[in-house]
Amino acid sequence: MAVTEQFLELAANGLVYSSIIILGSIGLSLIYSIAGFANFAHGDTMTVGAYATLIAFGAVGGAGFSILGLPLGFFVALVIGIVVTAAVALVTERLVYKPLDIGSIGLLITSIGVAFIYRALIQVQFSSDSRRFDIDRLRPIEPLVEYGIRITKHDIAIVISAVTLVVGLHVLLQHTDLGRKMRATADNPDLARASGIRIRRVELWTWVLGAGLAGAGGAFLGLFNLLAPRMGFSELLVIFAAVILGGIGSVYGAMLGGLLIGMIVSMTPLLSTVGIPIGGEYAAALAFIVMVLVLLVRPEGIAGEPVGGG
């Protein structure tokens, strides 16, 4: 197969995968900058969203007209999944993180405990087997196949939905009161508090948005591949790589980082074709190496603020 064909095929797939990663990385970056710690439970939060959507879809059913091969019921279930994920995050914040007074490292470690609990509860309910949404799989879109691009309408739906959510977030951040307050808190929490912003409110909204986006990402990941209790944790490090590449503290950095890392991971097989002996199985490893390089060379990432002392 010609290199250009493979390139286009991988790039198209990469776009879908990146959409999912972006939904995760934005959430992680928001939480990192406003709640102030690296949330190791973020991957499993995506898993929660995926399974919540699965259950909701089972209840709502696949009736109704379809958009891009996805029944209306799926979108309803998706919304439910997002809401449930946000609720779970709020409960966790209230029960677990808020009462702790131990600094960001302590919170990081605690979030690992939270991640295990999310995963354990899902596994109790669903065992460790993989599942799929009860939606018919689709053939690739015909006209594109001759260019080597093999994507289905579902993939298009994922990208469009992700873009919609991201645009919605952008609008919220730039043009609403809440968004203004969030940006102010992320920039300088003390100044924000001094100017009368209720930090607590902002924090809670951050969790809602961050977890909600992650939940959506999880549901799309389940649609793109399949659902398994480990699905979110497997992506966690990739999402961290995206956030670090983009720069903590910058939502737009997280978007860019998500796109870049998602593409790097998806297009790794291209390396073997051009003679570099790194196989597709090293895709995630490659992302981690990129992450470490960024930390060495430019820890603030592409768009983040310069990092102060440790």
């Binding site: 990081l108 295990f116 109790v124 670090i244 930390l295 002392g309 440790g310």
Partner: protein, 415 residues
């Protein structure tokens, strides 16, 4: 420590220590009773003890990094795995690179690999601030695991390395010890004999090896901790800038602590290879890293005794679900039901949740982390004395670790 009077020793311990000592005594006593009564197989008990000691050993290693120096190292599993793979590659029957060598070579290879990779990981990460260090070490550990999983020509990949011999297989007396020992039949309770045979003596050898490793590591780390070198590490942990102001090359010290800890972890991995007799890439799964973190957190960062305690508790969490997969556990439930149902005409069934071992383990670990961080973040046995200036310490003070400087009598540190 200079006290030899047992009574004084007891009262000198603070409540936490007394609690732990009692707990350990009760647990060990209970297990011994179970064994002598024929309820718990001694060979299997030794196997579990071996696992516990292994986690304790890894905890000692992590303690040198996190407890002494404040390094958040999430690559524990990788160094454990390198130690195990070093041992396995030299001795396993299906090793693609060697095989059939004496286990000593395997141990050496494991330690060398650990040192090399510790430096390799340390170079990019030790300058990073704490949370970045955590993420980066986790990522690099995953890279190592991925390489081991995929480079089948070097490591046998996901098949794993099997047929690993016991550690003492070429030693003159010890290799025949298990067969030479007579099978013993101990019958304390008539009708419930305890049989100690070949497999028991084999495990006894393994456990002895572990105790040697534990003893050496404990001793070495304790000396290191109390030495001037250890003092610098403690300074770095609580205030790195201060250490720098004092003229110390903190990066270099951190690297040394990192390598030292990694060597101890690799030792645990080497032991594991000769205990389990089988090694595969799943041994490098990050969950092992988090088990060891829980052990250190439970025990108390900086406390070597605490690390030992934590190690054994973690094994209970890891292996317990194999036997008890209901919450509340069946014997407890039976007792409760027995009590409640004494009331005539009342038959109550205590509800229980049946859980598979896998999720139950995860649940227990997650809960342990959260509960420890919430209610006892300094751990059960935190080191007794603030560790910056050991000369400024009073023996009688029973303090929490963050309490600052104390007046001193001697330089003794309780570990």
């Amino acid at each position: 420590m200079s006290q030899v009077n047992a009574r004084e020793y007891w009262t000198d311990m603070n409540r936490a220590e007394q609690g732990v000592a009692t707990f350990m005594a009760v647990t060990i006593g209970g297990l011994l009773v179970a064994m002598l009564a024929g309820g718990l197989d001694p060979t299997y008990f030794l196997f579990l003890f071996g696992l516990g000691g292994m986690f304790a050993l890894m905890s000692l290693g992590l303690n040198a990094q996190w407890g002494f120096t404040g390094l958040i190292n999430f690559s524990v599993a990788a160094f454990f795995g390198l130690g195990a793979y070093g041992a396995a590659l030299m001795t396993a029957t299906n090793s693609p690179v060697a095989g059939g060598f004496d286990p000593i070579f395997g141990l050496v290879l494991g330690l060398v690999l650990a040192a090399v990779f510790a430096v390799a990981i340390g170079i990019p990460t030790l300058r990073l601030r704490a949370d970045y260090l955590a993420i980066a070490t986790l990522g690099l550990a995953e890279v190592i695991r991925t390489v081991i999983l995929n480079e089948r020509d070097l490591t046998a990949g996901s098949q794993g390395l099997r047929g690993i011999p016991g550690f003492f297989e070429n030693w003159p007396v010890l290799s025949t010890f298990p067969e030479a020992m007579p099978g013993l039949r101990i019958e304390i309770i008539p009708g419930q004999p305890v049989v100690l045979e070949l497999s028991f003596w084999e495990q006894l050898l393994n456990v002895s090896l572990l105790l040697v490793f534990l003893g050496v590591s404990f001793f070495v780390l304790r000396r290191a901790h109390r030495s001037p070198w250890g003092r610098v590490l403690r300074t770095i942990r609580s205030d790195e800038d201060l250490a720098k102001t004092l003229g110390k090359n903190t990066y270099w010290y951190k690297m040394q602590a990192f390598v030292l800890g990694s060597l101890v972890m690799a030792l645990a991995g080497g032991f594991f290879a000769h205990l389990n007799l089988f090694v595969d890439p799943s041994n490098l799964d990050p969950i092992t890293t988090f088990y060891v973190w829980v052990a250190v957190m439970l025990g108390g960062a900086g406390s070597n005794r605490g690390a030992l305690f934590g190690g054994f508790v973690v094994v209970a969490i890891r292996e317990g679900p194999r036997f008890i997969n209901e919450l509340p556990p069946a014997p407890v439930r039976n007792v409760l039901e027995g009590i409640v149902n004494v009331i005539p005409s009342v038959t109550v069934e205590i509800p229980s949740i049946v859980l598979d071992a896998g999720p139950l383990r995860l649940l227990l670990i997650g809960l342990t982390i959260i509960l420890v961080m919430r209610y006892r973040p300094q751990g059960v046995l935190p080191p007794q004395r603030e560790l910056i200036w050991p000369d400024a310490i009073e023996e009688d003070e029973k303090a929490r670790p963050e309490m600052g400087v104390r007046e001193a009598k001697t330089g003794e540190i309780d570990d």
